[in-house]
Protein backbone atom coordinates (compact mmCIF):
# COMPACT_ATOMS: atom_id res chain seq x y z
CA UNK A 1 0.00 0.00 0.00
CA UNK A 2 1.32 3.40 -0.97
CA UNK A 3 1.38 6.05 1.67
CA UNK A 4 0.13 9.45 0.78
CA UNK A 5 2.71 12.13 0.09
CA UNK A 6 1.77 14.09 3.19
CA UNK A 7 2.34 11.27 5.62
CA UNK A 8 5.76 10.55 4.16
CA UNK A 9 6.66 14.20 4.59
CA UNK A 10 5.39 14.27 8.14
CA UNK A 11 7.39 11.18 8.99
CA UNK A 12 10.48 12.72 7.48
CA UNK A 13 10.22 15.93 9.52
CA UNK A 14 9.62 13.85 12.62
CA UNK A 15 12.75 11.86 11.84
CA UNK A 16 14.90 14.96 11.30
CA UNK A 17 13.49 16.48 14.47
CA UNK A 18 14.41 13.33 16.32
CA UNK A 19 17.90 13.28 14.85
CA UNK A 20 18.49 16.92 15.86
CA UNK A 21 17.21 16.11 19.34
CA UNK A 22 19.54 13.10 19.64
CA UNK A 23 22.52 15.12 18.45
CA UNK A 24 21.82 17.82 21.00
CA UNK A 25 21.59 15.17 23.73
CA UNK A 26 24.95 13.72 22.71
CA UNK A 27 26.57 17.16 22.69
CA UNK A 28 25.21 17.85 26.16
CA UNK A 29 26.34 14.47 27.50
CA UNK A 30 29.76 14.80 25.90
CA UNK A 31 30.13 18.23 27.49
CA UNK A 32 29.49 16.87 30.96
CA UNK A 33 31.83 13.97 30.21
CA UNK A 34 34.49 16.55 29.42
CA UNK A 35 33.84 18.38 32.69
CA UNK A 36 34.27 15.12 34.59
CA UNK A 37 37.31 13.88 32.73
CA UNK A 38 39.20 17.14 32.35
CA UNK A 39 40.61 17.28 35.91
CA UNK A 40 41.89 13.74 35.44
CA UNK A 41 43.50 14.65 32.13
CA UNK A 42 45.03 17.74 33.66
CA UNK A 43 46.58 15.89 36.61
CA UNK A 44 48.01 13.27 34.31
CA UNK A 45 49.33 15.90 31.92
CA UNK A 46 50.87 18.06 34.65
CA UNK A 47 52.47 15.02 36.23
CA UNK A 48 54.57 14.26 33.13
CA UNK A 49 55.73 17.82 32.52
CA UNK A 50 59.16 18.60 33.83
CA UNK A 51 59.38 21.20 36.59
CA UNK A 52 61.26 23.60 34.34
CA UNK A 53 58.83 23.37 31.46
CA UNK A 54 55.82 23.65 33.79
CA UNK A 55 57.22 26.79 35.37
CA UNK A 56 58.13 28.15 31.95
CA UNK A 57 54.57 27.98 30.67
CA UNK A 58 52.93 31.32 31.26
CA UNK A 59 50.10 29.94 29.15
CA UNK A 60 49.42 26.35 30.22
CA UNK A 61 49.88 23.91 27.35
CA UNK A 62 47.48 21.08 26.61
CA UNK A 63 50.27 18.67 25.79
CA UNK A 64 53.66 17.82 27.28
CA UNK A 65 56.52 18.72 24.95
CA UNK A 66 59.08 16.70 26.90
CA UNK A 67 57.23 13.97 28.83
CA UNK A 68 59.17 12.74 31.86
CA UNK A 69 58.65 10.25 34.65
CA UNK A 70 60.99 12.05 37.04
CA UNK A 71 58.03 13.45 38.98
CA UNK A 72 56.90 9.96 39.87
CA UNK A 73 60.38 9.04 41.04
CA UNK A 74 60.46 12.24 43.10
CA UNK A 75 57.03 11.53 44.53
CA UNK A 76 58.23 8.21 45.88
CA UNK A 77 61.71 9.30 46.98
CA UNK A 78 61.53 12.91 48.20
CA UNK A 79 58.38 12.44 50.27
CA UNK A 80 57.29 9.27 52.11
CA UNK A 81 54.50 8.49 49.67
CA UNK A 82 55.30 4.77 49.75
CA UNK A 83 54.93 4.86 53.54
CA UNK A 84 51.51 6.53 53.23
CA UNK A 85 50.49 3.84 50.74
CA UNK A 86 51.61 1.08 53.06
CA UNK A 87 49.77 2.63 56.01
CA UNK A 88 46.60 2.99 53.97
CA UNK A 89 46.90 -0.60 52.80
CA UNK A 90 47.33 -1.93 56.34
CA UNK A 91 44.46 0.23 57.58
CA UNK A 92 42.17 -0.78 54.73
CA UNK A 93 42.85 -4.51 54.94
CA UNK A 94 42.51 -4.83 58.71
CA UNK A 95 39.48 -2.55 58.97
CA UNK A 96 37.66 -4.34 56.17
CA UNK A 97 38.46 -7.82 57.50
CA UNK A 98 37.42 -6.98 61.06
CA UNK A 99 34.28 -5.29 59.88
CA UNK A 100 33.26 -8.24 57.72
CA UNK A 101 33.70 -10.57 60.67
CA UNK A 102 31.60 -8.38 62.95
CA UNK A 103 28.80 -7.63 60.51
CA UNK A 104 28.45 -11.16 59.09
CA UNK A 105 27.68 -12.51 62.55
CA UNK A 106 25.31 -9.66 63.33
CA UNK A 107 23.47 -9.95 60.02
CA UNK A 108 23.19 -13.72 60.50
CA UNK A 109 21.69 -13.29 63.95
CA UNK A 110 19.10 -10.85 62.62
CA UNK A 111 18.27 -12.86 59.52
CA UNK A 112 18.27 -16.43 60.70
CA UNK A 113 18.34 -16.84 64.48
CA UNK A 114 15.38 -16.32 66.72
CA UNK A 115 15.91 -14.90 70.15
CA UNK A 116 14.29 -12.68 72.75
CA UNK A 117 14.53 -8.96 72.07
CA UNK A 118 15.45 -9.35 68.42
CA UNK A 119 12.86 -7.05 66.86
CA UNK A 120 13.41 -4.45 69.56
CA UNK A 121 17.13 -4.57 68.95
CA UNK A 122 16.72 -4.32 65.20
CA UNK A 123 14.66 -1.14 65.50
CA UNK A 124 17.44 0.23 67.65
CA UNK A 125 19.96 -0.62 64.93
CA UNK A 126 17.89 1.12 62.29
CA UNK A 127 17.68 4.21 64.48
CA UNK A 128 21.48 4.23 64.72
CA UNK A 129 21.69 4.52 60.95
CA UNK A 130 20.48 8.10 61.21
CA UNK A 131 23.12 9.25 63.66
CA UNK A 132 25.60 11.49 61.90
CA UNK A 133 29.24 10.67 62.37
CA UNK A 134 30.02 14.27 63.23
CA UNK A 135 28.10 14.03 66.50
CA UNK A 136 29.87 10.96 67.83
CA UNK A 137 33.34 11.75 66.57
CA UNK A 138 33.98 14.25 69.37
CA UNK A 139 33.68 11.73 72.18
CA UNK A 140 35.47 9.08 70.13
CA UNK A 141 38.37 11.46 69.71
CA UNK A 142 38.52 12.05 73.47
CA UNK A 143 38.16 8.32 74.17
CA UNK A 144 40.93 7.29 71.80
CA UNK A 145 43.15 10.09 73.14
CA UNK A 146 42.55 9.00 76.72
CA UNK A 147 43.33 5.40 75.82
CA UNK A 148 46.67 6.61 74.48
CA UNK A 149 45.81 5.24 71.10
CA UNK A 150 46.59 8.33 69.06
CA UNK A 151 49.11 7.63 66.32
CA UNK A 152 48.42 3.90 66.39
CA UNK A 153 46.69 1.67 63.90
CA UNK A 154 44.34 0.47 66.62
CA UNK A 155 43.10 3.99 67.19
CA UNK A 156 42.61 4.48 63.49
CA UNK A 157 40.75 1.23 63.01
CA UNK A 158 38.52 0.71 66.07
CA UNK A 159 35.71 3.23 65.44
CA UNK A 160 35.13 2.06 61.87
CA UNK A 161 34.80 -1.71 62.30
CA UNK A 162 31.01 -1.64 62.41
CA UNK A 163 28.54 -0.26 59.97
CA UNK A 164 24.84 -0.43 60.62
CA UNK A 165 24.06 0.06 56.95
CA UNK A 166 26.16 -2.89 55.83
CA UNK A 167 24.62 -5.11 58.52
CA UNK A 168 21.23 -4.12 57.15
CA UNK A 169 22.31 -4.81 53.58
CA UNK A 170 23.67 -8.27 54.44
CA UNK A 171 20.67 -9.16 56.59
CA UNK A 172 18.33 -8.46 53.66
CA UNK A 173 20.43 -10.73 51.48
CA UNK A 174 20.70 -13.52 54.07
CA UNK A 175 16.91 -13.53 54.42
CA UNK A 176 16.56 -14.43 50.75
CA UNK A 177 18.26 -17.78 51.31
CA UNK A 178 15.40 -20.36 51.41
CA UNK A 179 14.45 -21.64 54.86
CA UNK A 180 14.42 -25.21 53.55
CA UNK A 181 18.20 -25.22 53.32
CA UNK A 182 18.40 -24.39 57.01
CA UNK A 183 16.03 -27.20 58.03
CA UNK A 184 17.87 -29.66 55.84
CA UNK A 185 21.13 -28.64 57.45
CA UNK A 186 19.56 -28.91 60.91
CA UNK A 187 18.36 -32.44 60.15
CA UNK A 188 21.90 -33.31 59.15
CA UNK A 189 23.03 -31.97 62.50
CA UNK A 190 24.90 -28.96 61.13
CA UNK A 191 25.58 -26.28 63.70
CA UNK A 192 24.50 -22.66 63.14
CA UNK A 193 28.08 -21.58 62.79
CA UNK A 194 28.89 -24.21 60.19
CA UNK A 195 25.69 -23.39 58.30
CA UNK A 196 26.71 -19.74 58.18
CA UNK A 197 30.13 -20.46 56.72
CA UNK A 198 29.28 -23.43 54.50
CA UNK A 199 25.93 -22.31 53.11
CA UNK A 200 25.01 -18.68 53.79
CA UNK A 201 28.27 -16.98 52.91
CA UNK A 202 28.89 -18.91 49.67
CA UNK A 203 25.32 -18.22 48.50
CA UNK A 204 25.50 -14.54 49.37
CA UNK A 205 28.99 -14.02 47.98
CA UNK A 206 28.01 -11.32 45.45
CA UNK A 207 26.62 -9.05 48.16
CA UNK A 208 29.54 -9.74 50.44
CA UNK A 209 31.97 -8.78 47.69
CA UNK A 210 30.01 -5.58 47.05
CA UNK A 211 30.18 -4.65 50.72
CA UNK A 212 33.92 -5.36 50.80
CA UNK A 213 34.56 -3.14 47.77
CA UNK A 214 32.47 -0.28 49.13
CA UNK A 215 34.30 -0.50 52.46
CA UNK A 216 37.68 -0.53 50.72
CA UNK A 217 36.76 2.65 48.83
CA UNK A 218 35.60 4.25 52.06
CA UNK A 219 38.81 3.30 53.87
CA UNK A 220 41.07 4.43 51.06
CA UNK A 221 39.44 7.86 50.96
CA UNK A 222 38.90 8.41 54.68
CA UNK A 223 40.28 11.70 55.82
CA UNK A 224 38.58 13.23 58.85
CA UNK A 225 39.16 10.57 61.48
CA UNK A 226 42.79 9.85 60.46
CA UNK A 227 43.43 13.58 60.47
CA UNK A 228 42.16 13.91 64.06
CA UNK A 229 43.88 10.83 65.37
CA UNK A 230 47.31 11.06 63.73
CA UNK A 231 49.78 13.90 63.77
CA UNK A 232 52.85 11.72 63.36
CA UNK A 233 53.60 11.43 59.64
CA UNK A 234 54.59 7.79 60.22
CA UNK A 235 50.90 6.96 60.56
CA UNK A 236 49.47 9.18 57.83
CA UNK A 237 47.10 7.64 55.33
CA UNK A 238 47.15 8.82 51.72
CA UNK A 239 44.57 11.60 52.19
CA UNK A 240 46.58 13.14 54.99
CA UNK A 241 49.75 12.39 53.11
CA UNK A 242 48.52 14.41 50.13
CA UNK A 243 47.61 17.26 52.46
CA UNK A 244 51.06 17.07 54.06
CA UNK A 245 52.74 17.03 50.65
CA UNK A 246 50.73 20.06 49.64
CA UNK A 247 51.62 22.05 52.77
CA UNK A 248 55.31 21.21 53.01
CA UNK A 249 56.31 18.43 50.66
CA UNK A 250 58.10 19.46 47.52
CA UNK A 251 57.73 23.15 48.12
CA UNK A 252 54.50 24.77 47.09
CA UNK A 253 55.60 25.49 43.55
CA UNK A 254 56.52 22.00 42.45
CA UNK A 255 53.11 21.28 40.99
CA UNK A 256 54.27 18.48 38.63
CA UNK A 257 55.65 16.38 41.50
CA UNK A 258 52.50 17.08 43.51
CA UNK A 259 50.37 15.95 40.57
CA UNK A 260 52.40 12.76 40.26
CA UNK A 261 51.52 11.99 43.87
CA UNK A 262 47.88 12.81 43.16
CA UNK A 263 47.85 10.42 40.20
CA UNK A 264 49.47 7.68 42.27
CA UNK A 265 46.84 8.10 44.99
CA UNK A 266 43.92 8.18 42.57
CA UNK A 267 44.96 5.30 40.34
CA UNK A 268 44.30 2.27 42.60
CA UNK A 269 40.66 3.20 43.12
CA UNK A 270 40.09 4.04 39.47
CA UNK A 271 41.40 0.60 38.53
CA UNK A 272 39.25 -1.02 41.22
CA UNK A 273 36.25 0.87 39.86
CA UNK A 274 36.87 -0.13 36.26
CA UNK A 275 37.20 -3.80 37.28
CA UNK A 276 34.16 -3.91 39.55
CA UNK A 277 32.11 -1.22 37.79
CA UNK A 278 28.75 -3.01 37.96
CA UNK A 279 29.13 -4.18 41.55
CA UNK A 280 30.10 -0.74 42.79
CA UNK A 281 27.33 1.09 40.98
CA UNK A 282 24.74 -1.45 42.08
CA UNK A 283 25.92 -1.26 45.67
CA UNK A 284 25.86 2.52 45.73
CA UNK A 285 22.40 2.67 44.19
CA UNK A 286 21.18 0.33 46.93
CA UNK A 287 22.01 3.14 49.31
CA UNK A 288 19.52 5.25 47.40
CA UNK A 289 16.72 2.73 47.30
CA UNK A 290 16.81 1.77 50.95
CA UNK A 291 15.01 4.94 52.05
Amino acid sequence: MAKSQDIVKLERTAKTKNAVFKTLMYIFLAFWGLVVLFPFYWMLLSSIKSYASYMGERLPKFYASDPTFDNYINAFTQVPLAKYFLNTLIFTVITTLLMMLVIVFAAYAFARLDFKGKSFLFVGFLALMMIPNELVIITNFVTITNMNLRNTFLGLILPSVTSVFYIYLLKENFEQVPDELYYAAKVDGTSDLKYLFKVMIPICRPTIITVIILKVIECWNSYVWPRLITDDANYFLVSNGIQEIRENGFGRDNIPAMMAAVVAVSLPLIILFLVFRNKIMEGVSREGTKG
Partner: protein, 306 residues
Amino acid sequence: MTKSGVKREGIMGTLSGWLYLAPALAFLIFFMVYPLIDVFIYSFEEGYNSASQTYFGIGGYNYSYVLRDPYFLQAVKNTFILVIFTVPVSTILSLLISLALNSIEKFKKLFQTIYFLPYVTNTLAVGLVFMILFQKTPYTDGLINLLIKAMGMSPVDFIEGPYWAKMFVLCVYVIWIVMPFKILILTSALASVNPVYYKAAKIDGASKTRIFFKITLPMISPMIFYLVITGFIGAFKAYSDAVAIFGVDLNAAGMNTMVGYVYDMLYCDGGGYPSYASAAAIILFAIVLTITVINLIVSKKTAPKG
Protein backbone atom coordinates in the same frame (compact mmCIF):
# COMPACT_ATOMS: atom_id res chain seq x y z
CA MET B 1 6.61 -20.46 60.47
CA THR B 2 8.10 -17.00 60.30
CA LYS B 3 10.14 -15.79 57.39
CA SER B 4 12.76 -14.34 59.66
CA GLY B 5 13.80 -17.45 61.44
CA VAL B 6 13.25 -20.72 63.15
CA LYS B 7 11.84 -20.89 66.65
CA ARG B 8 14.49 -22.08 69.00
CA GLU B 9 13.20 -22.79 72.41
CA GLY B 10 14.68 -21.66 75.65
CA ILE B 11 17.63 -19.75 76.93
CA MET B 12 20.16 -21.40 74.65
CA GLY B 13 18.62 -19.84 71.54
CA THR B 14 18.50 -16.40 73.06
CA LEU B 15 22.03 -16.74 74.34
CA SER B 16 23.47 -17.75 70.98
CA GLY B 17 21.56 -14.98 69.20
CA TRP B 18 23.02 -12.34 71.49
CA LEU B 19 26.42 -13.98 71.22
CA TYR B 20 26.44 -13.53 67.44
CA LEU B 21 25.45 -9.92 67.92
CA ALA B 22 27.84 -9.22 70.77
CA PRO B 23 30.80 -7.82 68.77
CA ALA B 24 28.65 -5.47 66.69
CA LEU B 25 26.72 -4.44 69.77
CA ALA B 26 29.87 -3.76 71.76
CA PHE B 27 31.35 -1.55 69.05
CA LEU B 28 28.11 0.31 68.46
CA ILE B 29 27.50 0.99 72.13
CA PHE B 30 31.06 2.11 72.73
CA PHE B 31 31.54 4.18 69.57
CA MET B 32 28.01 5.38 68.78
CA VAL B 33 25.49 5.20 71.61
CA TYR B 34 27.74 6.34 74.43
CA PRO B 35 29.32 9.16 72.36
CA LEU B 36 25.86 10.34 71.32
CA ILE B 37 24.84 10.79 74.95
CA ASP B 38 28.22 12.13 75.91
CA VAL B 39 28.20 14.88 73.28
CA PHE B 40 25.16 16.45 74.97
CA ILE B 41 26.83 16.22 78.37
CA TYR B 42 30.02 17.82 77.02
CA SER B 43 28.05 20.63 75.47
CA PHE B 44 26.70 21.70 78.87
CA GLU B 45 29.92 21.32 80.86
CA GLU B 46 31.44 24.75 81.22
CA GLY B 47 35.18 25.24 81.16
CA TYR B 48 35.92 21.59 80.53
CA ASN B 49 39.60 20.79 80.51
CA SER B 50 40.49 17.76 78.45
CA ALA B 51 43.82 17.24 80.21
CA SER B 52 42.47 17.08 83.77
CA GLN B 53 38.93 16.11 82.73
CA THR B 54 37.40 18.64 85.08
CA TYR B 55 34.85 21.38 84.58
CA PHE B 56 33.54 24.37 86.51
CA GLY B 57 29.83 24.01 86.15
CA ILE B 58 26.79 23.14 84.11
CA GLY B 59 25.05 25.60 81.83
CA GLY B 60 24.54 27.05 78.41
CA TYR B 61 27.77 29.06 78.25
CA ASN B 62 29.33 26.85 75.53
CA TYR B 63 26.38 27.56 73.26
CA SER B 64 26.47 31.29 73.79
CA TYR B 65 30.25 31.32 73.29
CA VAL B 66 29.97 29.44 70.00
CA LEU B 67 27.07 31.59 68.78
CA ARG B 68 29.12 34.73 69.40
CA ASP B 69 32.36 33.40 67.90
CA PRO B 70 32.98 35.27 64.62
CA TYR B 71 34.67 32.16 63.19
CA PHE B 72 31.53 30.16 63.83
CA LEU B 73 29.29 32.82 62.30
CA GLN B 74 31.55 32.91 59.25
CA ALA B 75 31.33 29.12 59.04
CA VAL B 76 27.53 29.24 59.29
CA LYS B 77 27.38 31.83 56.52
CA ASN B 78 29.73 29.80 54.29
CA THR B 79 27.80 26.60 54.89
CA PHE B 80 24.43 28.18 54.11
CA ILE B 81 25.71 29.76 50.88
CA LEU B 82 27.20 26.41 49.90
CA VAL B 83 23.93 24.60 50.60
CA ILE B 84 21.75 27.15 48.82
CA PHE B 85 23.85 27.00 45.66
CA THR B 86 24.97 23.40 45.40
CA VAL B 87 21.76 21.52 46.26
CA PRO B 88 19.45 23.04 43.59
CA VAL B 89 22.16 23.27 40.92
CA SER B 90 23.39 19.69 41.37
CA THR B 91 19.85 18.26 41.58
CA ILE B 92 18.60 20.02 38.44
CA LEU B 93 21.80 19.34 36.52
CA SER B 94 21.77 15.66 37.43
CA LEU B 95 18.11 15.43 36.43
CA LEU B 96 18.91 16.94 33.00
CA ILE B 97 21.84 14.60 32.54
CA SER B 98 19.80 11.56 33.57
CA LEU B 99 17.02 12.53 31.17
CA ALA B 100 19.55 12.90 28.37
CA LEU B 101 21.10 9.54 29.29
CA ASN B 102 17.68 7.96 29.25
CA SER B 103 16.98 9.19 25.72
CA ILE B 104 20.01 7.56 24.09
CA GLU B 105 21.11 3.97 23.55
CA LYS B 106 24.61 4.12 22.08
CA PHE B 107 27.46 4.92 24.48
CA LYS B 108 25.06 4.99 27.43
CA LYS B 109 27.23 2.63 29.48
CA LEU B 110 30.36 4.59 28.59
CA PHE B 111 28.84 7.89 29.72
CA GLN B 112 27.55 6.32 32.92
CA THR B 113 31.00 4.95 33.71
CA ILE B 114 32.68 8.29 33.11
CA TYR B 115 30.11 10.20 35.14
CA PHE B 116 30.63 7.94 38.11
CA LEU B 117 34.40 8.46 38.31
CA PRO B 118 34.39 11.37 40.79
CA TYR B 119 32.64 9.10 43.29
CA VAL B 120 35.64 6.81 43.60
CA THR B 121 38.32 9.46 43.63
CA ASN B 122 40.06 10.78 46.67
CA THR B 123 38.50 14.15 47.55
CA LEU B 124 41.74 15.51 48.94
CA ALA B 125 43.80 14.49 45.92
CA VAL B 126 41.52 15.75 43.16
CA GLY B 127 40.93 18.98 45.08
CA LEU B 128 44.55 19.82 44.36
CA VAL B 129 43.83 19.61 40.64
CA PHE B 130 40.96 22.07 41.02
CA MET B 131 43.30 24.28 43.00
CA ILE B 132 45.89 24.45 40.21
CA LEU B 133 43.20 24.92 37.56
CA PHE B 134 41.78 27.97 39.34
CA GLN B 135 44.91 29.31 40.99
CA LYS B 136 46.57 32.53 39.90
CA THR B 137 50.25 32.66 40.73
CA PRO B 138 53.01 35.15 39.92
CA TYR B 139 54.23 33.01 37.03
CA THR B 140 50.94 31.91 35.51
CA ASP B 141 47.30 32.89 35.57
CA GLY B 142 46.16 29.29 35.41
CA LEU B 143 43.86 27.61 32.95
CA ILE B 144 40.50 28.95 34.10
CA ASN B 145 41.80 32.52 34.07
CA LEU B 146 43.00 31.93 30.54
CA LEU B 147 39.40 31.22 29.57
CA ILE B 148 38.21 34.26 31.48
CA LYS B 149 40.72 36.45 29.70
CA ALA B 150 39.68 34.95 26.37
CA MET B 151 36.18 36.16 27.14
CA GLY B 152 37.56 39.64 27.68
CA MET B 153 37.44 39.83 31.47
CA SER B 154 40.25 40.35 33.93
CA PRO B 155 41.72 37.32 35.73
CA VAL B 156 40.81 36.56 39.33
CA ASP B 157 42.70 34.60 41.97
CA PHE B 158 40.12 32.00 42.90
CA ILE B 159 42.18 30.44 45.69
CA GLU B 160 43.51 33.41 47.64
CA GLY B 161 41.44 36.19 46.10
CA PRO B 162 38.03 37.70 46.80
CA TYR B 163 35.41 35.86 48.86
CA TRP B 164 32.92 35.27 46.04
CA ALA B 165 35.65 33.74 43.86
CA LYS B 166 36.68 31.31 46.58
CA MET B 167 33.08 30.41 47.25
CA PHE B 168 32.58 29.84 43.53
CA VAL B 169 35.42 27.28 43.33
CA LEU B 170 34.18 25.51 46.42
CA CYS B 171 30.65 25.27 44.99
CA VAL B 172 31.98 23.99 41.66
CA TYR B 173 34.06 21.34 43.39
CA VAL B 174 31.26 20.23 45.70
CA ILE B 175 28.88 19.92 42.73
CA TRP B 176 31.50 17.95 40.77
CA ILE B 177 31.86 15.55 43.71
CA VAL B 178 28.16 15.00 44.44
CA MET B 179 26.96 14.58 40.85
CA PRO B 180 27.82 10.86 40.40
CA PHE B 181 25.54 9.69 43.18
CA LYS B 182 22.63 11.82 41.98
CA ILE B 183 23.01 10.80 38.35
CA LEU B 184 23.15 7.14 39.36
CA ILE B 185 20.02 7.32 41.51
CA LEU B 186 18.04 9.34 38.96
CA THR B 187 18.97 7.20 35.95
CA SER B 188 17.86 4.06 37.75
CA ALA B 189 14.67 5.82 38.86
CA LEU B 190 13.97 6.89 35.27
CA ALA B 191 14.68 3.39 33.97
CA SER B 192 12.19 1.91 36.41
CA VAL B 193 9.24 3.98 35.17
CA ASN B 194 6.80 1.54 33.55
CA PRO B 195 7.04 1.99 29.73
CA VAL B 196 3.30 1.34 29.42
CA TYR B 197 2.66 4.91 30.63
CA TYR B 198 4.82 6.33 27.87
CA LYS B 199 3.13 4.20 25.24
CA ALA B 200 -0.29 5.32 26.40
CA ALA B 201 0.80 8.95 26.34
CA LYS B 202 2.17 8.54 22.82
CA ILE B 203 -1.09 7.09 21.59
CA ASP B 204 -2.85 10.11 23.07
CA GLY B 205 -0.38 12.29 21.16
CA ALA B 206 1.04 14.02 24.24
CA SER B 207 4.03 16.31 23.68
CA LYS B 208 7.47 15.61 25.17
CA THR B 209 7.16 18.38 27.76
CA ARG B 210 3.71 17.22 28.71
CA ILE B 211 4.92 13.64 29.12
CA PHE B 212 7.75 14.88 31.31
CA PHE B 213 5.58 16.96 33.63
CA LYS B 214 2.59 14.61 33.74
CA ILE B 215 4.31 11.22 33.85
CA THR B 216 8.06 11.24 34.36
CA LEU B 217 8.30 13.88 37.07
CA PRO B 218 5.49 12.51 39.28
CA MET B 219 6.88 8.99 38.92
CA ILE B 220 10.40 9.90 40.00
CA SER B 221 9.47 12.62 42.49
CA PRO B 222 10.07 10.37 45.54
CA MET B 223 13.67 9.88 44.39
CA ILE B 224 14.10 13.60 43.71
CA PHE B 225 12.90 14.36 47.22
CA TYR B 226 15.24 11.74 48.59
CA LEU B 227 18.13 13.37 46.72
CA VAL B 228 17.15 16.84 47.92
CA ILE B 229 17.00 15.68 51.54
CA THR B 230 20.29 13.78 51.44
CA GLY B 231 21.77 16.64 49.40
CA PHE B 232 20.89 19.14 52.12
CA ILE B 233 22.33 16.88 54.80
CA GLY B 234 25.49 16.24 52.79
CA ALA B 235 26.06 19.90 51.93
CA PHE B 236 25.60 20.95 55.54
CA LYS B 237 28.34 18.49 56.45
CA ALA B 238 30.76 19.68 53.77
CA TYR B 239 34.32 19.89 55.01
CA SER B 240 36.98 17.87 53.23
CA ASP B 241 36.11 19.54 49.92
CA ALA B 242 37.06 22.88 51.45
CA VAL B 243 40.27 21.48 52.96
CA ALA B 244 41.18 19.97 49.60
CA ILE B 245 41.11 23.35 47.91
CA PHE B 246 42.10 25.87 50.57
CA GLY B 247 44.31 23.81 52.89
CA VAL B 248 43.99 22.91 56.55
CA ASP B 249 43.71 26.42 57.98
CA LEU B 250 40.21 27.22 56.77
CA ASN B 251 39.64 30.01 59.29
CA ALA B 252 42.56 31.95 57.87
CA ALA B 253 41.16 31.49 54.37
CA GLY B 254 37.75 32.60 55.64
CA MET B 255 36.31 29.46 54.07
CA ASN B 256 35.56 27.31 57.11
CA THR B 257 32.39 25.24 57.24
CA MET B 258 30.38 24.30 60.31
CA VAL B 259 31.83 20.81 60.45
CA GLY B 260 35.28 22.34 59.97
CA TYR B 261 34.65 24.58 62.96
CA VAL B 262 33.76 21.53 65.07
CA TYR B 263 37.00 19.78 64.13
CA ASP B 264 39.11 22.89 64.60
CA MET B 265 37.68 23.29 68.09
CA LEU B 266 38.47 19.69 68.84
CA TYR B 267 41.97 19.66 67.49
CA CYS B 268 44.29 21.84 65.38
CA ASP B 269 45.75 25.17 66.47
CA GLY B 270 42.73 26.45 68.33
CA GLY B 271 41.85 22.96 69.53
CA GLY B 272 41.40 21.18 72.83
CA TYR B 273 37.85 22.40 73.41
CA PRO B 274 35.53 19.39 73.15
CA SER B 275 32.78 21.36 74.91
CA TYR B 276 32.72 24.11 72.30
CA ALA B 277 33.00 21.47 69.58
CA SER B 278 30.03 19.60 71.05
CA ALA B 279 27.90 22.71 71.31
CA ALA B 280 28.71 23.62 67.69
CA ALA B 281 27.96 20.08 66.50
CA ILE B 282 24.61 20.07 68.27
CA ILE B 283 23.69 23.47 66.80
CA LEU B 284 24.62 22.12 63.37
CA PHE B 285 22.42 19.06 63.75
CA ALA B 286 19.53 21.03 65.17
CA ILE B 287 19.63 23.03 61.92
CA VAL B 288 19.96 19.90 59.76
CA LEU B 289 17.10 18.19 61.61
CA THR B 290 14.82 21.22 61.23
CA ILE B 291 15.50 21.44 57.52
CA THR B 292 15.04 17.69 57.03
CA VAL B 293 11.68 17.81 58.82
CA ILE B 294 10.58 20.76 56.67
CA ASN B 295 11.67 18.82 53.58
CA LEU B 296 9.70 15.78 54.68
CA ILE B 297 6.56 17.83 55.32
CA VAL B 298 6.85 19.50 51.93
CA SER B 299 7.42 16.17 50.17
CA LYS B 300 4.41 14.61 51.95
CA LYS B 301 2.23 17.53 50.88
CA THR B 302 3.26 17.41 47.23
CA ALA B 303 3.33 13.63 46.89
CA PRO B 304 0.48 12.17 44.81
CA LYS B 305 -0.76 9.99 47.64
CA GLY B 306 -1.07 11.51 51.15
